[in-house]
Symmetry: C2
Subunit: 471 residues, 2 copies
């Protein structure tokens, strides 16, 4: 797409659609929409548009399509790969969906609700709870992340093991296509085999195939009881054996199985207030296990830990004896990402491998880190039960931040090569955005990239939807 010159007249035609108060053109007003929270991506834009209705989104896209203007849809701006940030050239318009905040309908009996794109994940959870139901998608940034954003990126989080990722929780979508037409696919059906799966095509396409404006979501019964424990372990191999026991004993009651290394916990305890150690002694690895039960009270978690103890898999275990203690456990788990800020610069990865290969991955990855950046500190943690690890690395203690960060590409190339060897994914839940666009070209087959390009061309022939992202 040729770089567009924005005349004041064109800007005001866009502004007229949403009203002057919701067409931000001042530098300070625009700033929060132009910077990714980890400061890795900044962009420019002549105007940030903040529509409140699907009709406004439709008119914005129709105009952008006529004029050939790139549109970058943005939710809570919590994405980690720069997908929501416009190009630094200033030739794209930011479309912030955060004012589309209606909970259109909650059907508790039917187990569905329809919410608009700008509803935050926490707000969606509360709307479900208010109707006596569970919307299970949960992640650290849920106070800001929006439904539109988590669907556009197919977000994961801590409840994927039992309930699936964002894709699995959507029954239907409403989306505005590149030319401004509105697709009403807000179905509430568990089964519908009438044609191509457009819903799943748009989900995870990061705003490059359409702009999601609303979704019908699945609701679940609120578990009557949850059991939570942190278990201290010798190694990832012990975690794998424990996972097999948990799966076999708890079946579908197993709703979380999160792994972290001592280093992650150490940073959290050191740099984040409100976190506490579940144990008196330090241990090399930890797992948080959660079981959720429908009916009556259970001691399934204690029983499965007894089995694991009998097999000498466990160094120690702390069972939450109260809701407060369970919240402490989760608070610790959710602190890891932000805690790393206290330890200087960090290089981060969001990878997945087949679960059985996690121990192998962790051992080889540690060797790679030591080769590329001697003294750097791996901070692995993540969703073991999904095969998904955030393989983060903090700079060497007392070392130079900039110098460490200059190794990002070299480090990632080596980690991604290992991931590919193990049949894994270079982006398990964060998506491609700007960050992994080049890596995608290296790690996807030519034929798969061709299929993606053909679909992009079919649904967005002018290339106005989130240009420069994904493909």
């Amino acid at each position: 797409m040729a770089t567009k010159i924005f005349s004041p007249e064109l800007i005001s035609r866009f502004a007229d659609i949403v009203g002057a108060a919701n067409a931000l053109t001042g530098t300070d007003d625009k700033a929060p929409y132009l910077r990714e929270w980890r400061d890795r991506y900044t962009g420019k834009t002549p105007v940030v548009l903040r529509p409140q209705t699907t009709d406004e989104v439709s008119r914005i896209l129709a105009l952008a399509h006529d004029e050939g203007i790139g549109i970058v849809a943005q939710g809570g701006n919590t994405g980690l790969v720069g997908g929501q940030i416009p190009s630094p050239a200033g030739d794209q318009i930011v479309l912030s969906l955060t004012r589309m905040k209606k909970v259109r309908d909650v059907d508790a009996a039917g187990g569905t609700m329809i919410v608009e794109a700008g509803v935050t994940l926490a707000e969606a959870q509360h709307a479900a709870e208010g109707a006596g139901r569970l919307f299970p998608l949960s992640l650290a940034s849920e106070g800001s992340a929006t439904i539109g954003g988590v669907l556009a990126t197919n977000a994961g989080g801590t409840a994927v093991l039992a309930y699936g990722n964002a894709r699995n929780l959507a029954l239907g979508l409403e989306a505005v296509l590149a030319d401004g037409r509105v697709w009403n696919g807000l179905r509430r059906l568990k089964k519908d085999n009438t044609g191509y799966d457009l819903r799943d095509l748009l989900i995870g396409s990061e705003g490059t195939l359409g702009v999601i404006t609303a979704a019908s979501l699945k609701l679940f019964p609120i578990p009557a009881e949850r059991e939570t424990a942190i278990v201290a372990l010798e190694s990832p191999a012990a975690a794998l054996k424990l996972f097999r026991i948990a799966e076999a004993e708890a079946g579908s009651a197993l709703t979380a199985f999160e792994l972290w290394a001592h280093q992650a916990q150490d940073f959290a305890l050191r740099y984040m207030s409100n976190t506490r150690d579940a144990f008196a002694d330090a241990h090399p690895w930890y797992v948080l296990i959660e079981l959720s039960h429908g009916g009556r009270s259970s001691s399934a978690l204690e029983q499965l830990l007894t089995i694991a103890h009998g097999q000498e898999l466990i160094r120690d275990a702390a069972l939450a004896r109260s809701l407060g203690q369970a919240q402490d456990f989760w608070r610790l788990r959710e602190a890891f990402s932000e805690a790393q800020k206290g330890a200087g610069g960090s290089i981060k990865h969001d990878i997945s491998v087949p679960i059985a290969r996690i121990p192998e991955f962790l051992s080889h990855a540690a060797e790679i880190v030591e080769q590329v950046a001697p003294g750097a500190r791996p901070v692995p943690f993540g969703h073991f039960g999904d095969g998904n690890l955030h393989y983060n690395i903090s700079q060497p203690e007392g070392g130079d931040k900039a110098q460490f960060l200059s190794l990002w590409e070299t480090m990632s190339d080596a980690i991604f090569e290992l991931v590919s060897e193990l049949g894994g994914s270079i982006s398990a839940e964060h998506g491609i955005g700007q960050m992994k666009r080049e890596a995608l070209r290296q790690h996807k087959s030519a034929i798969e990239l061709d299929m993606m390009r053909a679909i992009k061309q079919a649904l967005d022939p002018k290339g106005i939807l989130n240009p420069g992202k994904v493909l």
Copy 2:
């Protein structure tokens, strides 16, 4: 696509790829591939090709692409909407995948297996069982239906409530595209956010976007215990209340909730050997409930039935006291579709509506039947917990079969209109094929059909993949 004239030379170029023994040209040899088992669709073809490898499929499609020949992929030929049957014009080649029978790999520890398209559903289940794992997809025709077929049609069945439909059970695909290129998407990952969801686009596309040659499938722990009961009920409204109790009490342990009317059971007991009534008396409606438990023994089913009994929801209940009795219950449930043959002609529907609207649907649908074909006998049964009913109708007792069947379009139009009013789907699990192509045009929005056409054009620009189906 212009009608193609098949020269003997062209036929032999196709035949050379698979060898003469697997290129069927004789009328008797071809016959089983050209007729749908309910006799609603028959087609013609110059040759049925039976490749054994992905490479052979690739070469067949490359040649078909060069020559502009339509290719109709076929699995076990159990489809119910004519999707697997070529056109009567004889201008399309049938590509039978049933010789692609390799179980390439079973990774019990990793919970995945890779099987080829021609492996039957029953064979896939056995391969998983042999490794101590469960592949849960299950349907009446599982002895013939193939993995390629169930994925191409996103088949459902009796285990959808807990495990999802075919789409939810596939981690990755291998598929041959329209031009013969092979896409290797056989990933084994639970989470992978690297680009567009091509897997789910191909799944359910009924052979119109690519030919699935293999799949990596999810495996689950085999439940240690299953509890099964048939419950006799007054009405679908009572079934809905019972479903809510079962959901709340059993949570994710609820693995089946199947509803049927007395008429369905009556036909099964009358026309199918090996079926027996669970009760001494007749009841208007029945539900089969199954709970599956991971760990130790449970009496959750009895407990939830006690609750339902306390609310006077239940007329009677029979709990399976042995595996044999549970199998009896399921045998009865699976007999309904075939049993209808004994009762003369039948008009069949595979619809879904939001679960809460099932009672409303059943009551209005019965009125429609009586209006369109007085005396005809509704035989509703199906997957209540998924909102999916097979709303079948048998001809009036002693009436004229042909005359009744001549009402198919009128009947379906009226039923589909009701389904649309209730926010439902006109094809919940059987797909579109030939049968519902016209209905699809009436019930889908123009914009959704446009999106589908754009994608079809992008991935199969010459229109050689299953021409005349779906779109």
